[in-house]
């Protein structure tokens, strides 16, 4: 290994956050009294001191260029003494002390293509992953679907309100980078065919025992093909999770005709009112249809609209469905109930209906 130069810097960790906090935050740190959402995307936080910090939240595609970073910097300098932050859902937030600056800031950032919104009981940004832009493992794209869905549901990002916060997330494969497994609506890339094994290269590229033990269902076993040491997959046992592919590139699952998207509903993370819960299967499969995935967009929109029309105030999608019951969810949304909805993985028995509490 090459020797490191003497002045090489490592293990410094991230910079201390205090470097970046605006003075008003330093002054009121830990001493905020309350906040108000003035209108969608605009909040004020009031300190015990009486100080007021205004936040303008704007949408971001998350995948942003350095040009856009500079635009954000420009705007922050113009209105916020250079102070801004990003949120845990990848929106950008400008931190102001001058109330008069709010509207001009909104005008500027909107003009640049980053509309303001995303607070309170509506839609915020879709947490998502890499898709075809960067990941080798993806069963679908990420950014393109996010854009298409948010374009259609845009009113809910801005003025239109929902019964409660509604969090959509997308992951392009079963690894589920992000919290899609606990989202109000999750859009998840899925494969439907077992891995295609590169018999020629597998023994060079991969550790066969690791590959075999990577499979949650034990579908993989060793095989010999024309004298080549390889593996074979029992089609009956494979449920297309791609865990084998993660540990072994010679087990490719991607397939243009059978890859696509599944939709999951009713998860949540916060402890507000009810306990956190997982998203459950709503639609097992929708084929990939770029560039705008209209069937996916329609499916998500349908769920949101049925929810908006039926749920009570403060009721997250999952709480609403638990109240009305899953049979009614399928009825109201018109989504077909199939054998795929019935869990058949390890703890499946927990999801059977073990009472006569039925609605007719």
């Amino acid at each position: 290994m090459a020797e490191a130069p003497a002045d090489r810097i490592t293990d410094v960790g991230p910079p201390h956050y205090e470097r970046f906090l605006p003075p008003i935050i330093k002054a009121n740190y830990g001493k905020w009294k309350y906040h108000e959402i003035l209108k969608p995307g605009i909040m004020v936080h009031v300190g015990e001191s009486g100080d007021k910090l205004f936040t303008v939240r704007a949408a971001s595609p998350r995948l942003i260029s350095v040009d856009t970073i500079r635009v954000f910097a420009d705007i922050a300098e113009k209105y916020c003494d250079g102070h801004l932050r990003f949120t845990s859902r990848n929106n950008v937030e400008f931190l102001l002390t001058e109330e008069a600056n709010i509207e001009p800031l909104i005008a500027d950032i909107t003009k640049e293509g980053f509309p303001v919104g995303g607070t309170g009981s509506g839609l915020s940004n879709i947490v998502h992953t890499q898709g075809w832009v960067h990941c080798h493992s993806s069963a679908t794209d990420a950014s393109g679907i996010v854009k298409s869905v948010m374009d259609e549901l845009f009113p809910y990002f801005q003025e239109k309100r929902l019964p409660a916060k509604t969090r959509i997330a997308l992951a392009c494969c079963l690894n589920m980078c992000g919290a899609v497994h606990c989202s109000d609506i999750a859009i998840l890339g899925v494969h439907q065919r077992p891995p295609r094994i590169d018999d020629k290269n597998i023994s060079k590229m991969c550790e066969i025992p690791t590959t075999i033990s990577s499979c949650p269902t034990g579908a993989i076993r060793t095989a010999d093909k024309d004298g080549m040491k390889t593996v074979e997959v029992s089609e009956d046992l494979c449920m297309f999770c791609a865990n084998c592919y993660t540990v072994c590139p010679s087990m490719q699952l991607n397939d243009p005709d059978t890859d696509g998207i599944s939709i999951w509903v009713g998860g949540k993370v916060s402890n507000a009112i009810s306990e956190p819960k997982f998203s459950k299967l709503a639609i097992p499969f929708i084929p990939n249809n770029p560039p705008r995935w209209p069937e996916v967009v329609d499916a998500v929109k349908n769920i949101i609209e049925v929810y908006a029309a039926n749920a009570r105030k403060y009721e997250r999608i999952g709480d609403w469905i638990e109240r009305i019951g899953w049979p009614k969810f399928f009825k109201l949304t018109g989504i077909e109930f199939t054998r795929y909805h019935i869990d058949d993985f390890k703890h499946a028995g927990w999801t059977y209906k073990r009472s006569t509490h039925l609605k007719f």
Binding site: I9, T10, V12, G13, P14, P15, H16, Y17, R19, F20, W32, K33, Y34, T55, A59, S60, P61, L63, I64, S65, D67, A73, A76, E77, G82, L84, R85, S88, V92, L95, F114, W132, V133, H134, C135, H136, K147, D151, F154, L174, N175, C177, H181, C182, S214, N254, D257, V269, S270, N271, A272, S274, P276, K277, F278, P290, P291, R292, Y314, K346
Partner: protein, 398 residues
């Protein structure tokens, strides 16, 4: 190959929501790498399949993580993305920046990479998207000079992240930024040099609203809470009522533990019954606030579904006072014990949550030196398969 037409991607320039394609367009004129990215992506859109592949491990000297190596499987057609690695850069706590520092980062990435970023990745890092192997080390050192370091990838501690907490939120029950920063610094070695069976994530949320989704996606989730009574400003309650809020319907009736009363005058809470869900406080931020005896609940073991199904984190320490340095010290010791046990007993690619399920919570607790508490469970066992231990029986017989 020359810049190709991208009619499908161009469809994504339309519509009101910000467009990532527009971002690619912004830099493509000066970045052949992005031109090729556009081209390859258009191919993916046409063919409905990705074009990236695994490759050899790449990184910076002395670190086992922080870089994701990526290679095009259309290298001949798109040579500029033959290498297209990402660098994960450890974000500042709660994602606060100044325009200065953003400009410096932009300049570094303009020089060394594609000019594309994710602000931010799902774990919380600033993700610098696309560069070649040669540029990794120079980028790293350029960032380091500005005080930045890489984040985690592989079987290491992953980049911790935290909610905005006390910096801008009235509900923060502990200093999420400080704890996140301190932990990140404390565990730099674990972050950069793989020695775990698999990844390990910390996330810090200041209250049970859990704005960084820590309970769903961190191996150790630290969630602020309080022990004493909810603070009530009855005058502010009256103002909400006057302003037209239906306190009974919107607050009292929805309280999950049904421990609140409203008599048209003031709100009364039976605080020992409160489950600290935040709902009432969320709805009436001017009138209600968490108590003054604040701290956090430590939960363990969240993860995505591979391989045994997803897990939410579960309670490990019901309440810890994070303002008490001794208790923080105890927490570090506990973390050490957990990592030791995991290191010894965890299988390759087995997350801590899966290990606990495999060996059983009580065995795990014994190993890490914690007493069982009823707060750790939603209910006691319903099966009669108790692994009675001989020692304890003898005690009982005495």
């Amino acid at each position: 190959m020359a810049k190709r037409d991208t009619p499908m991607l161009d469809e994504l320039l339309k519509g009101p929501y910000p467009s990532f394609v527009k971002e690619l367009y912004k830099v493509q004129e000066r970045k052949p790498m992005v031109q090729d990215l556009l081209g390859q992506l258009e191919d993916s859109y046409e063919e409905r399949i990705g074009h990236w592949k695994h490759g050899g491990i790449v990184g910076v000297m002395g670190y086992g993580g922080g870089v994701i190596g990526r290679y095009s499987d259309l290298q001949d057609k798109y040579p500029n993305v033959a290498h297209f690695h990402t660098m994960r850069v450890n974000q500042p706590a709660a994602w606060f920046y100044t325009s200065d520092i953003l400009r410096k980062i932009a300049d570094i990435w303009e020089k060394h990479g594609s000019g594309l970023t994710n602000m931010h990745g799902s774990t919380g890092d600033m993700v610098l998207l696309g560069t070649t192997t040669d540029e990794l080390e120079p980028t790293f050192q350029a960032l380091a000079k500005e005080g930045f370091d890489l984040g985690g990838s592989g079987s290491v501690l992953r980049t911790p992240s935290c909610c905005v907490g006390p910096a801008r939120c009235e509900w923060a029950c502990y200093d999420t930024l400080k704890l996140c920063y301190d932990f990140t610094q404390e565990y730099q070695d674990e972050l950069h040099r793989p020695f775990f069976p698999y990844k390990f994530k910390f996330k810090f949320s200041g209250c049970p609203n859990d704005c960084v989704a820590s309970i769903a996606r961190s191996d150790m989730s630290i969630i602020g809470t309080w022990k004493d009574d909810i603070q009530i400003d009855q005058a502010a309650v009256a103002e909400y009522a006057k302003a037209g809020m239906d306190i009974q319907a919107d607050v009292i009736d929805i309280c999950p533990s049904k421990c609140m009363k409203y008599d048209g005058e003031g709100i009364e809470v039976d605080n020992h019954e409160c489950v600290h869900c935040m709902h009432c406080i969320n709805v009436m931020p001017k009138a209600l606030a968490p108590g003054k005896e604040r701290g956090a609940t430590i939960l363990l073991g969240a993860k995505a579904p591979i391989m045994d199904g997803a897990l939410l984190a579960s309670v490990l320490v019901p309440f810890i006072d994070l303002n008490d340095p001794d208790e923080v010290e105890d927490l570090h010791e506990l973390i050490g014990n957990i990592w030791d046990f995991w290191g010894e007993h965890g299988k390759n690619r087995e997350r801590i949550g899966e290990l606990i399920q495999r060996v059983g919570m009580s065995t795990f607790l014994e190993a890490i030196g914690l007493e069982p508490e009823p707060e750790m469970i939603s209910a006691p066992r319903d099966n009669p398969y108790i692994f009675f231990k001989e020692e304890e029986d003898e005690e009982e017989e005495e």
